[in-house]
Symmetry: C2
DNA sequence: TTAAATGGTTGTGAAAAACAATCTTTTTGT
DNA sequence: ACAAAAAGATTGTTTTTCACAACCATTTAA
């Protein structure tokens, strides 16, 4: 088992993963981001396995959005999820069938729907919040608090910057 | 509802995405990471659409690993990819069929394979390197260089920390 | 010298992602 | 005012992806 764990890059030796040289990926933000996301997502699936939002890429965001923004439309959710409307519609279907949210016709626009949380969904949202906080702790608690603030700041800016480019 | 990990949000107005409140996700590293990854991955698919590594989640890493680590085994690649062996084997199949890498029997262990890059694969690896560098620039160039180093440092530590937990 | 472990492949079924087409309602242009 | 365009949402389809289980071959250990 090549179980050497480098704590940090030394000057002379290149950074390795499982003893292997990873080439340009070593200095690619995107590669670390992708790897972290893969593991965190899998972990989240396990933590939510017993809930209606399990196995989802957008269900958690959806339930929190509906809870925090009563009357929100599916198309607005799609915009946050960065997914298309069919995909978003299916996520909503799932949550409606599970009884966590309900659809109503938007008062101002007959084409659109207005989504609302149910009692059951509200309880679910609360559970989800706690799971996310717990996961954040488990994965990122090692970051010293002064680094953490800076890390979040840059991450947020990367996110905002990226969204701006999408338009 | 403690808010002690509140980062840099200004006092009265909460952070919103497309005008919507995103609840706890606002302070979740994982959420920004996931969102950024989604967009960056899609972008990468477009940039590599004309190459053998297109539409892949692990092909790029694989070709770079083989190029930088001649004789590498599939199981070692799987460990870096954080995927299981069947998935890794199929990625290798794809690249072998495309003529970018080749399999040989490992000299020391007849069960194992030793993978090597081909001429074609070497050229591909070079193209991939440039694409990744270009993408990094496009997405993360806005980060001031002093912040960038710190950002990478924390990101890398998160990655290493996460891998250590997997064992 | 069996039994267990390791390296790899094949098969399968369930989700997920991306697209196109359709339908209804609103908005826009003339 | 009316036809055309745009916006909101759904249905359908096709292609990948993902995770498991089962399997074979070789090596290592008991």
């Amino acid at each position: 088992m090549s179980n050497e764990t480098k704590t940090f890059d030394q000057k002379d030796e290149p950074f390795t993963v499982a003893g292997l040289r990873i080439d340009v990926l070593d200095e690619a933000f995107s590669w670390y981001i992708r790897s972290i996301d893969a593991v965190v997502s899998r972990d989240l699936d396990q933590r939510t396995a017993h809930l209606d939002v399990a196995k989802g890429k957008g269900k958690i965001t959806t339930i929190l959005l509906v809870d925090g923004n009563p009357g929100i439309r599916p198309s607005q959710i799609a915009e946050v999820l960065l997914r298309d409307r069919p995909a978003t519609g299916r996520i909503i279907d799932h949550l409606v069938k599970a009884g966590d949210i309900r659809r109503e016709a938007d008062a101002d626009d007959q084409r659109a729907q207005a989504l609302y949380i149910t009692e059951k969904g509200s309880a679910l949202a609360q559970e989800v919040r706690e799971i996310i906080r717990a996961q954040e702790n488990d994965f990122f608690d090692f970051i010293p608090s002064e680094d953490r603030e800076e890390f979040m700041r840059v991450l947020k800016r990367a996110y905002i910057n990226m969204r701006n480019k999408l338009e």
